[in-house]
């Protein structure tokens, strides 16, 4: 996948929250060989733990994608993005503008407004969105060059609640990188997303909260590769009835 001029080999973006320990997070990144990890900003605590976390992440060599998680307004998101750009020395920003506290679904109106402000200011915006085609069009008009539709609510692990909508997005935006962000629970969900023609999958909880996060990170890496190869190989259409795979011609009469 090529996004904002950067070639990404493994179509897996990994979140860095909720791991049992920093060492397990580091092992998960390394075992999956994922090239992009998401991070956030929070109030600095006594002792400056943020700097240690930042040093550890840089040691993995992964590209950093800061987010605006927890922001509920355009101003919060824009200010957070500006702070992230300075802190992480990147103009990439995963733009989240949350609209509802229970579902964590995006406020798509504020999202488009914030995306326009940030893109105009030179940011490379990765918008966390729902799977609405028109919202996608508005985000592209605002300057986004990638779209990140949800698969299911953040952290729910429900997988892809509406594969048809993602299929429609693929058809409607054939040349735009599409990354499923949120909702992935199992490797099979990641396979399905990639088989639908998505360009990548972004996930966090599915790996971080698994019994073996390092093993799950590796499983997810294999899953996205499997799904991508499957999509590229043009799967057969489903049929309602059986069709024999063994040739019927030449079948002996033995009754």
């Amino acid at each position: 996948m090529r996004v904002y001029g950067t070639e990404i080999t493994l179509p897996l973006f990994l979140g860095t929250a909720q791991y049992p320990s920093p060492a397990i997070l580091q092992d998960a990144i390394l075992s999956s060989q994922c090239e992009v990890v998401t991070v956030s900003l929070r109030r600095e605590t006594a002792g400056g733990t943020g700097a240690r976390f930042w040093d550890m992440l840089r040691a993995t060599g992964a590209r950093i994608l800061p987010n605006t998680a927890g922001c509920h307004s355009v101003q919060e998101a824009v200010t957070t993005a500006q702070m992230a750009r300075e802190l992480f020395a990147t103009d990439w920003i995963k733009l989240e503008v949350i609209g509802h506290g229970d579902t964590l679904q995006p406020d798509v109106f504020a999202l488009v407004e914030a995306a326009r402000i940030l893109a105009t200011d030179g940011f490379k915006v990765f918008p966390y969105m729902n799977d609405d085609l028109i919202v996608g069009e508005k985000l592209l008009e605002a300057g986004c060059q990638v779209l990140m539709p949800w698969g299911a609510p953040i952290g729910s692990g429900q997988g892809l609640r509406n594969p048809d909508a993602l299929r429609a997005m693929r058809a409607h935006f054939p040349d735009t990188p599409l990354i499923v962000d949120a909702g992935i629970g199992r490797p099979s969900d990641a396979v399905l997303a990639m088989e639908l023609g998505m360009d990548a999958v972004l996930l966090n909880t599915a790996v971080a909260r698994a019994g073996d996060p390092v093993g799950m990170a590796r499983a997810m890496a294999l899953a996205v590769e499997t799904g991508r190869l499957g999509f590229a190989a043009d799967p057969i259409d489903r049929r309602d009835m059986a069709v024999p795979s063994t040739p019927v011609l030449g079948l002996a009469e033995l009754m």
């Binding site: 956030s40 929070r42 109030r43 300075e86």
Partner: protein
Amino acid sequence: MHITVNAKPHDISAETLAAALVELGFTSAAIATALNGQFVPVPAREATHLTAGDRLEVLAPMQGG
């Protein structure tokens, strides 16, 4: 001067943002600042004067999804 730092009240003698960060013990280079909801980049901290009642946010890298 009374200001709010990361949602907690503080009484500081510093008059600029740069001096306030030193006084408050934010010595890490890995921080970003916002004053009253507006981002203040590192080069502007020295010239940014504080006023009583200001709300200062000091953020650092954190795990995120």
